[in-house]
């Protein structure tokens, strides 16, 4: 049974409650500033006590995040944020646990922990800053860098197939996946709220620009003149419509998705795919997560938000059951259980 045991705040909180006294040391123009400012909007409005927030991170530019939010926090080691966050949430389910990580931290060195926290569905909200580059080590390719990209460690272009984080999340039986861009704060705030509401592991992939080492890496979907035609913002229960003139849509044709023009060939809104973020079957969610230019727009918003029991709740259930049924109620009981005898 899903239980939310995080204590609620009795006073109204504001952004000021979460601003840390530390100097923010990201580069001017870095997308992380926008992510931080979105979090400062979201945390006060979730309704939890400010002392019940906990931010965990690994290593990399994104992972400096905990120092910049006034909550409890751990800045961990490279790739291990998901493992640290798992321990935090299991040990202390009354905390709202957030994790800041990057494409190097979670897709490469921490890939194992990333898939396993998702598989277990531990109630942690993961913000995946995807800038397709190693920033803090100054510009090597990452597991999400597009094939052929020239970086400091791939002078002739990368020869690796990049991960699509959405595919990885759904492949690991993820219950929540959303996507946003660093230049659309409203969307970021919306999906962060949705992630907070979801019980279980929530992954929010944020396409982020690194002005220094991978400038405009997401331009094909985020550039002002392209974004309307290459972003479809999903809303539960609504048809998938996009385009500068709101005249394009996505429909399911047989087993495949297809871009169609509303009004052409007799196509109306009724023919379009209606988004069901709560569907347990991840089939359509996977197709949506994989959509990309040039033939498709990229899907943003909440792609999947399916309800499943969380690991941390089930731990509490097992403990409650054991406490109610076991004869061993204290360590003295344990020490004296089974075969014992008296020496006089």
């Amino acid at each position: 049974m899903i239980k939310n045991t995080i204590e609620r705040t009795s006073v109204e909180l504001t952004k000021e409650d979460f601003v840390s006294d530390q100097m923010v040391k990201w580069c001017p123009g870095c997308g992380s500033h926008a992510i931080l400012s979105s979090i400062e909007k979201v945390f006060p409005k979730i309704g939890y006590r400010k002392e019940n927030f906990m931010v965990v991170s690994g290593i990399g530019c994104s992972s400096r995040f905990p120092y910049y939010v006034n909550t409890y926090g751990i800045h961990g080691i490279h790739g291990r944020a998901a493992a640290i966050a798992s321990g935090v949430k299991i040990a202390s389910p009354r905390l709202s646990v957030w994790m800041a990580t990057g494409d190097g931290d979670s897709m490469a060195i921490g890939g194992n922990h990333f898939i396993h926290i998702i598989r277990r569905n531990i109630d942690v909200n993961i913000l995946l800053f995807n800038n397709q580059i190693y920033g803090l080590t100054k510009g090597q390719y990452s597991p999400t860098t597009p094939m052929g990209a020239i970086t400091k460690s791939s002078p002739q272009g990368t020869i690796e197939h990049p991960f699509n984080p959405g595919e990885l999340v759904l492949g690991a039986q993820g219950t929540f996946f959303a996507r946003a861009t660093d230049n659309n704060p409203k969307l970021m705030v919306d999906v962060m709220f949705e992630a907070a509401k979801h019980d279980g592991t929530s992954i929010v992939e944020i396409l982020e620009n690194c002005v220094i080492f991978a400038d405009k890496t997401h331009a094909a979907v985020t550039a002002k003149d392209l974004r309307d035609d290459f972003q479809v913002i999903l809303k539960h229960g609504e048809p998938l419509i996009f385009g500068t003139n709101k005249d394009k849509g996505i429909r399911l044709n047989g087993t495949l998705l297809e871009v169609v023009k509303i009004g052409e060939n007799g196509i109306t809104e009724k023919d379009l795919l209606i988004h069901d973020q709560y569907s347990h079957d991840p089939g359509i969610h996977l197709m949506l997560a994989k959509m990309a230019p040039p033939h498709f727009p990229m899907a943003f918003g909440v792609i999947r938000s399916a309800m499943y029991p969380t690991y941390d709740d089930m731990v509490e259930d097992q403990i409650t059951l054991a406490k109610n049924t076991s004869k061993i109620r204290c360590v003295d009981d344990l020490l004296n259980s089974g075969e014992t005898w008296e020496i006089k």
Binding site: V56, V88, K323
Partner: protein, 614 residues
């Protein structure tokens, strides 16, 4: 029935060996429980292959269980055995070298068929040639008599085959002048939901007993109940179970919930499995995706206020190194248990060594001190786990607890303590809204920082692996601050010496020769030292449980003796640590790295040799 003289013995070592599926672990456990109820002190050691079921009747598939029982205090599971029970040719082949000259060797003669003894590597039947000429051989038709015993209740021969071990146990009960009733009642308890098994085992056990009554060559021994152990309630316990229980006791006594993040690895897995059973005591056990996640989840749990643990063996400790550094930098309490096995790499997973000491002391990047404690026996694993948890929480530091495969799987009698009688544990938990709270402000007595638990009002703070500014805990790369923090972290660990017991000298403190040991060799050393003293010679013994920091009187003790020899199951890791920390003394060393414990006899030979040298 033949009438026999009963021979009284102070101590006896018996070893049960057979194929992996022959039930030798159960037989050994039943035997040791019976001996314990008969009032003997004892120590046990199981000896099994790393393969689960190696091919039938091969030497690779031999499983054994050794029990040392005594009227006197027993400190080891014994060197060589007085009685060897071998259920097949391969187990005889693998274990005859561990039998004393003249030992009673009981074999299942039915199992010595040509393909079986050939598979074991014998060219002819060892029961018929001179292989066993130096021993008191009992050729018991165990398989056929077991079948006969069970025929009357209509059990098929395959099921009957599985009860052979009980026939052997029946013989052994007779050999030790026990009437078998105690064993029957233990069996009844063990299989209380399987009445068919109880009745079959009872029949076979009785058949074995009656058979033994007719064998003239079988001696009858008697080990009188011991008078040397303290009054009280007792149980038998292995080191791994004791480790798990010590942590549960520390959790209860400190009021801190227990969290274990662990990944299965031989020979440490039993601790994980045992703690997983105790959710009624609030134990949260997380079987992580790897060793790194095991410790990292524990670090997360520690930050939130849990007694946080991770358990592993040598290769796993290597994987945890970086995360131990994070716990050192964040000054969070955590206990890392390393049940040492033979290394390097995968090494000898089911065998025992003390070769992870260097790794525990030095195996991390940077200046990275942690407390290192080594348990001295299966029962001491309980107290060492308790104390590791106490030190970790009260001093806000990672503690590495070293045990080893021998202790982990070996067992001895445990005088059951009351949790209330164990020392108090008072973690330095920060108070809500403390206006003076600073993440890295320290208690001058311990140099520990305070533990500020998430969810508490007015204590929000961030910590992490980047160097911290003194007091505030803010990120700092200031050179002078780094030096200061390096000094403080070391001083905090050094200060633990103010809170641990002094080093004691046993044996004859006025001797010229001091023999030094640490960790799991304690029992063997004690036995060897008392043997030397029994020979009328002078020898002193110092055993180290606290490795980092060393007890405060270490220098004073080492300075008293003309000759110091450090004995350990590695190439000299502790002796080199002493050479580093106390270079003013001269040390000799005695080492063995075979995946096996020291034998008392080899220590006695070495000590005598050192005593004779001038």
């Amino acid at each position: 029935m033949v009438s026999k003289n009963i021979v009284d013995r102070d101590e006896v070592v018996i070893k049960f060996v057979g194929d992996s599926g022959d039930g030798m672990q159960l037989t050994g456990t039943l035997f040791s429980d019976t001996a314990a109820l008969a009032g003997n002190d004892l120590a046990t050691f199981p000896d099994y292959p790393s393969e689960i079921r190696a091919p039938h009747n091969t030497v690779a598939g031999v499983s054994g269980f050794q029990v040392h029982i005594g009227r006197t205090k027993i400190h080891t599971s014994g060197d060589l055995c007085d009685v060897l029970v071998a259920m097949n040719p391969a187990s005889l082949k693998a274990n005859l070298k561990w039998a004393k000259p003249g030992a009673t060797v009981i074999v299942d003669a039915d199992s010595f068929e040509e393909d079986a003894f050939t598979k074991a590597g014998y060219t002819q039947n060892p029961l018929d040639d001179s292989t066993l000429s130096g021993f008191n051989l009992i050729k018991a038709p165990i398989s056929s008599m077991t079948r006969d015993a069970l025929a009357e209740i209509g059990l098929d021969s395959k099921t009957a085959e599985k009860s052979r071990n009980m026939f052997a146990l029946g013989i052994v009960c007779h050999l030790f002048s026990w009437n078998g009733e105690v064993t029957q009642s233990i069996l009844a308890q063990k299989f209380k939901n399987k009445p068919n098994i109880i009745s079959a085992n009872k029949l076979v056990l009785e058949a074995g007993y009656s058979y033994a009554d007719t064998v003239e060559a079988l001696p009858t021994l008697r080990v009188q109940p011991t008078k040397e152990i303290k009054k009280g309630r007792y149980r038998n316990i292995t080191g791994n179970i004791a480790t798990a229980w010590g942590f549960l006791a520390a959790s209860e006594r400190s009021g801190r919930p227990i969290f274990l993040g662990s990944y299965p690895i031989t020979p440490a897995t039993d601790i994980l499995q045992e703690l997983a059973k105790h959710k009624s005591l609030g134990a949260k056990v997380f079987q992580a995706e790897d060793e790194i996640a095991g410790i990292c989840s524990a670090i997360g749990a520690s930050y939130t206020g849990s007694l946080a643990l991770t358990t592993t063996s040598g290769p796993g400790l290597s994987l945890k190194s970086e995360a131990i550094g994070l716990a050192v930098m964040t000054e969070l309490p955590i206990v890392i248990v390393d049940v040492q096995r033979g290394g390097p790499s995968t090494g000898l997973p089911t065998k025992s060594e003390q070769s992870d000491l260097n790794q525990a002391l030095f195996g991390r990047n940077g200046e990275c001190p942690v407390v290192v404690i080594a348990a001295g026996s299966p029962v001491d694993c309980f107290y060492s786990a308790y104390e590791s948890a106490k030190i970790a929480m009260e001093h806000m530091t990672p503690v590495i607890l070293l045990t080893d495969g021998q202790q982990a799987n070996g067992s001895e009698l445990f005088r059951i303590p009351r949790v209330y009688d164990l020392p108090r544990i008072n973690p330095p938990i920060a108070e809500a809204n403390d206006p003076d709270y600073q993440p890295y402000k320290r208690d001058p007595k311990t140099l520990a920082r305070q533990w500020a638990l998430p969810g508490t009002d007015g204590l929000r703070h961030r910590i992490g692996g980047l160097e911290k500014e003194n007091i505030t805990g803010n990120v700092s790369s200031d050179p002078a601050n780094h030096q200061l923090m390096v000094n403080l972290r070391q001083a905090k660990v050094d200060k633990v010496a103010d809170f641990i017991p002094k080093l004691e000298v046993t044996g004859d403190p006025d001797a010229d020769l001091l023999v030094v040991s640490w960790g799991g060799t304690h029992g063997t050393m004690l036995t060897a030292v008392s043997e030397i003293i029994g020979q009328g010679k002078k020898i002193a013994h110092a055993h180290f449980k606290y490795i980092m920091p060393l007890p405060k009187n270490t220098k004073e003790i080492l300075g008293k003796y003309k000759k110091i020899v450090v004995c350990e199951l590695n190439m000299g890791q502790f002796v080199n640590y002493l050479r580093m920390t106390h270079p003013e003394f001269k040390y000799e060393q005695f080492n063995k790295v075979q995946g096996l414990p020291f034998m008392v006899s080899e220590l006695v030979v070495k000590f005598n040799q050192l005593l004779e040298e001038k």
